[in-house]
Symmetry: C2
Subunit: 631 residues, 2 copies
């Protein structure tokens, strides 16, 4: 019988089946229906070469047929189609969570000490395995204590060549990242390539020592200690609150980091190439030098923001769990990016820009693939629109891109969720379809507040961002009478009747941002729990600083964030007070409006979504103070 993982609904690909022995022992299915005697073996592997009578041949599945078609397509294109393969990998991969890497201890280590493993298969030293690296004719990998020759699997691997990243070493660490691999279906595929076991001389408690297993994150760069680390591997870190809106342009070392995997190592940037593939499959390669010398350099000042920024806020206020890193406010930063126009490069590669702009080609999307196997796409519209300012970027704030931000080359899609500004860019593909990656087809989508188990196909990928704002600093000053501006007339009248309404002077500030290049036109602030509102001062960060100088804002639309500040007195007198632990408190609110007069939603209950994306309700900060004169 075919081994099916119901969660994925996919079967063993046809090629594998024909390569494998005709009959084999049924593997455990999913945990819900696996026989008790298999329970400890779910995560361990035995060769499947033993023929049994009760296992009929698996039926080639739709999945296998799809991959076959894809394989023949690959044959037609000389260069390896990284994007397409990454795309299919993700389709194949189904759900996996990079937000919460699987760090749970393995509960079923195979106990191979003393060596009771299949005596018919050979033992290999790890030093032998290392010789079979990515450059060898027959690449090997290890998984736990087993050795696999993956030579024949590589061309069929849905994830493409990325599997070679582990060649000559252990795949364990990668599967900790791509946790979807930890399924019976994948274990079964792997089992076909088992060639032996790691020699007991290299094992401790049946496993290679951790120091023997290559850490995929070994090449990750050092980071500024001021960044607030959310996860170390992959690296996710937010800009600290106190630095967040300290400057209009975020220093590059304080720019928030959102990596889905490791940081690809670039040994020789001069030999780094970008491949551009057009609809007809034709490709053209560009070195960094080509990009820098053949095209007009362009600067764009743009904020990038993670779709999960303020997720913690949503979780807290909706009082419902959200799935993903619990970012506070700092998964947004603003920089000056320098590169060349994607449209210029596409035109150079032979893409008919004007025809495409008129809608007369099949081009609908531009797919980007990064060196670490991340991939995503954007609609063709902004990619071709001169005013869309989509760039291939090699510099940030006047210096080469830092490794964490895509060195040596990344996409910049301003006004869109940062997940489309693919880092370590290796391949650009003009296509009639979206990227099929996990990050395009899942994860970066939203559903209604009632949907807990989304059908991902039912929502479009996040592209342009909605409006948001946040309070990043609150500085409390002296006690003072309430300022009239903080209240409406009626409120003031009431207030003056209650002798001397007082509060504390406060200086607050923060950012506002909207996607699609929509300028922030107004920021409303409330110091009194949303009862009354006033307008914040929008900082004039785009002003030309002096004669002969340029505005720090580059680009055709308002791609940067807008900083704001507000001075007022937070009412903490009797009427407004709410005592907490002997303190008087008030809640500050901020909400922004963009040029399309889009407003932020008031609360989270109605925009809550299971992935906690686009948490853009009014931002609220509770401020408490000891009572004046301790009264």
């Amino acid at each position: 019988m075919a081994v099916i993982t119901p969660a994925l609904g996919r079967r063993l690909p046809r090629e594998l089946i024909s390569a494998a022995p005709r009959r084999f022992t049924a593997l455990p299915k999913h945990p819900g229906c696996r026989p008790a005697q298999h329970s400890r073996r779910l995560h361990t592997f035995q060769p499947l070469y033993r023929v049994t009578a009760e296992s009929p041949l698996p039926i080639p599945s739709k999945e296998a047929r799809t991959r076959q078609r894809y394989s023949s397509r690959r044959t037609g294109s000389a260069a390896a189609s990284l994007i397409a393969s990454v795309g299919l990998f993700s389709l194949f991969a189904g759900l996996f969570s990079l937000f919460e890497p699987d760090t749970a201890p393995r509960d079923n280590p195979s106990n191979t000490s003393p060596d009771d493993r299949d005596p018919e298969l050979p033992r290999f030293r790890l030093s032998d395995v290392r010789k079979h690296d990515a450059k060898s004719d027959r690449p090997w990998i290890t998984y736990e204590d087993k050795v696999y020759d993956i030579t024949d699997w590589i061309p069929a691997h849905p994830g493409g060549d990325v599997i070679l990243r582990a060649a000559g070493g252990s795949i364990d660490a990668y599967w900790d990242i791509f946790s979807i691999h930890k399924s019976p279906h994948v274990y079964e595929i792997l089992a076909h390539y088992l060639i032996g076991y790691v020699d007991v001389a290299d094992l401790v408690d049946g496993r290679p020592l951790p120091e023997q297993i290559e850490d995929p994150f070994n090449d990750d760069p050092p980071r500024d200690p001021r960044l607030i680390t959310m996860t170390e591997k992959p690296r996710n870190a937010e800009t600290p609150l106190e630095e967040l809106t300290e400057s209009f342009i975020t220093p590059k070392e304080l720019f928030y980091v959102r990596n889905h995997m490791w940081v690809p190592k670039v040994d020789d940037p001069d030999r780094y190439t970008l491949t551009v593939e057009l609809l007809d499959g034709s490709t053209k390669e560009y070195t960094l030098d080509d990009l820098k010398t053949k095209f007009k350099p362009v600067k764009i000042t743009a904020a990038l923001q993670c779709s999960g920024n303020r997720r913690k806020d949503m979780t807290t206020h909706a009082q419902k769990k959200t799935n993903g890193l619990q970012w506070n406010l700092g998964a947004i930063s603003n920089a000056v990016w320098e590169g060349v126009r994607l449209a210029d490069v596409l035109a150079d590669a032979g893409f008919p820009l004007e025809q495409a702009r008129a809608g007369d080609t099949e081009a609908r999307h531009v797919q980007f693939a990064g060196g670490e196997s991340y991939a995503a796409s954007i609609p063709i519209g902004p990619a071709l629109d001169h005013r869309g300012d989509v760039l291939l970027v090699y510099a940030m704030n006047g210096a080469p891109l830092p490794p964490d931000h895509g060195f040596p080359l990344r996409a910049l899609v301003p006004g869109h969720v940062a997940a489309r500004s693919v880092k370590w860019l290796k391949r650009v593909v003009v296509s009639d379809e979206e990227s099929q990656s996990q990050w395009q087809q899942k994860d970066y989508k939203l559903f209604g507040p009632n949907v807990t188990d989304p059908d991902w196909s039912q929502a479009p990928a996040i592209q342009e961002m909605p409006i948001t704002s946040a309070i990043t600093t609150v500085k409390l000053g002296d006690w003072a009478p309430l300022l009239p501006s903080a209240s409406e007339t009626k409120e003031r009248e009431t207030a003056t009747k209650t002798s001397e309404p007082r509060g504390r002077r406060a200086s607050i500030g923060g950012f506002a941002y909207s996607g699609g290049g929509r300028a922030i036109i107004r920021v409303d602030v409330s110091l009194d729990n949303g009862t009354t509102w006033d307008q914040a001062e929008l900082l004039d960060d785009c002003a030309v600083p002096g004669p002969g100088q340029e505005s720090p804002c580059n680009g055709h639309k308002s791609w940067a964030w807008r900083r704001w500040r507000y001075e007022g007195v937070i009412p903490l007198h009797k009427k407004e007070e709410r005592r907490e632990d002997g303190k008087r408190c008030s809640t500050l609110f901020v909400k922004a409006t963009d040029e399309a007069y889009n407003a932020q939603p008031e609360g989270y209950d109605a925009i809550w979504n299971v992935r906690g994306n686009l948490a853009n309700a009014w931002h609220r900060v509770r401020v408490c103070s000891e009572c004046e004169n301790n009264k």
Copy 2:
């Protein structure tokens, strides 16, 4: 002394002053400081020819200088610069309310029966006045019982040639529309051109009979009686609720009407011309035939929506007055528009499209002026963007434009507030500045919920619209058990414990729309006061109806509205019930999400604005029902 109306802060233009006698009696100023003896004469006119000692010469003002400069510009351009003049007119005009035409009875009629008017000035029969129409060498007008020769004033009239609309007749009705004219400042100007009085033979109670006064709306076309009239003159009428989402394409006779003035009469469409003016002042004229034959015809399916749609909803729920027509839901409609691309016409007129797209010209705005003197502008970006689909339109739903919708030519700026899709289009001007019209500089703007007396210069004109949605139909059916989909699991559990929760089956429907071509991706519906949500079905109106047929949706972006429907059971059992007049009630909510994942604000308190613009909070409808079996 110079007569200054402090509200406007402007003085008598220099030309007027030099043309007028050197000294004259001071006219009453504004009501706040006018001498009591003048109070009854504020709205009547006396010739100012009597020289007095105490009236020094007025000092030419900045206003006069501005106008002079403008006049010399006009001289440089052969064709009358309608847009510029309309612009200046509006600057000059300051505040006037077309939303609430001044229909208050005149409180100071000059009592001229028997004829105690200045005996030194001649009397004219209205039949004499009629000879001095727009085509005569010396156009005259009457105001109340006075006759004016406006020949010398026409070139200086800030409103431009539109004043000729009244030539040969009375200006009274126009001033009821352009109520700003009813100021001492304007009365004073007019007084300089007094040449006599209407003969008593044509007066009744000191005024010409109403039937003798030309009604500016005489040429307005007949309308479909199903339209819900908000004001008759100018015509403002909304599509009735029962027809609103009955069809995807609104029949042209049911398309909502928003006229700011009268419908200009077009005697001979074959001689109708559009003037296109470029940055250098050069102009080119196009007949309708030119447009239809020289350029590629383009169809765009787009909704147009008034910025005041749902204003009544805002007024009701914010419980605060808003200034403007209290539209319900029907100031939105959807049609197929046919015309030619504005960019194509601009290019033909000599405008360097590619240079402008790259930002290398001074072009920042495209101004539109209509034949009735309405004017507005849009930023250059969407005007030049092929995907912006900005058209010059001559047909609607496959037939020539109806008179109410701009016959013979209008602008279509999809995704933008309808106020930019200028009707009866006469002139297009590429400019470095916005239209200076009332409708660009005021009215169509928003301010914070705290702002009751806005500084109009502090907000940008509404262009792209934010997201909105509405329930247009609710059909109640039988009593039934609650459908699981209407409640979340927890709610269901609670519900099943309270024996047989029941409600009434309901079929509801409506529209959702977002500006900027942002597609509607989701419509959330709540049948239980916003406690739980479910997703509505989005109608597939853009589907290709059959083989060889075309989608009814034309254009590069999602310019049309999206219709939706939802079937459910409105909970009216004990837990949810709220009895009103013996009935059980529940409130239905709808809210939409667009492709930039913009959401509607929950309520109106925080988006209330004094003009009641862009009322796009969740739409809510209270549904009540007799209890089941009268229990």
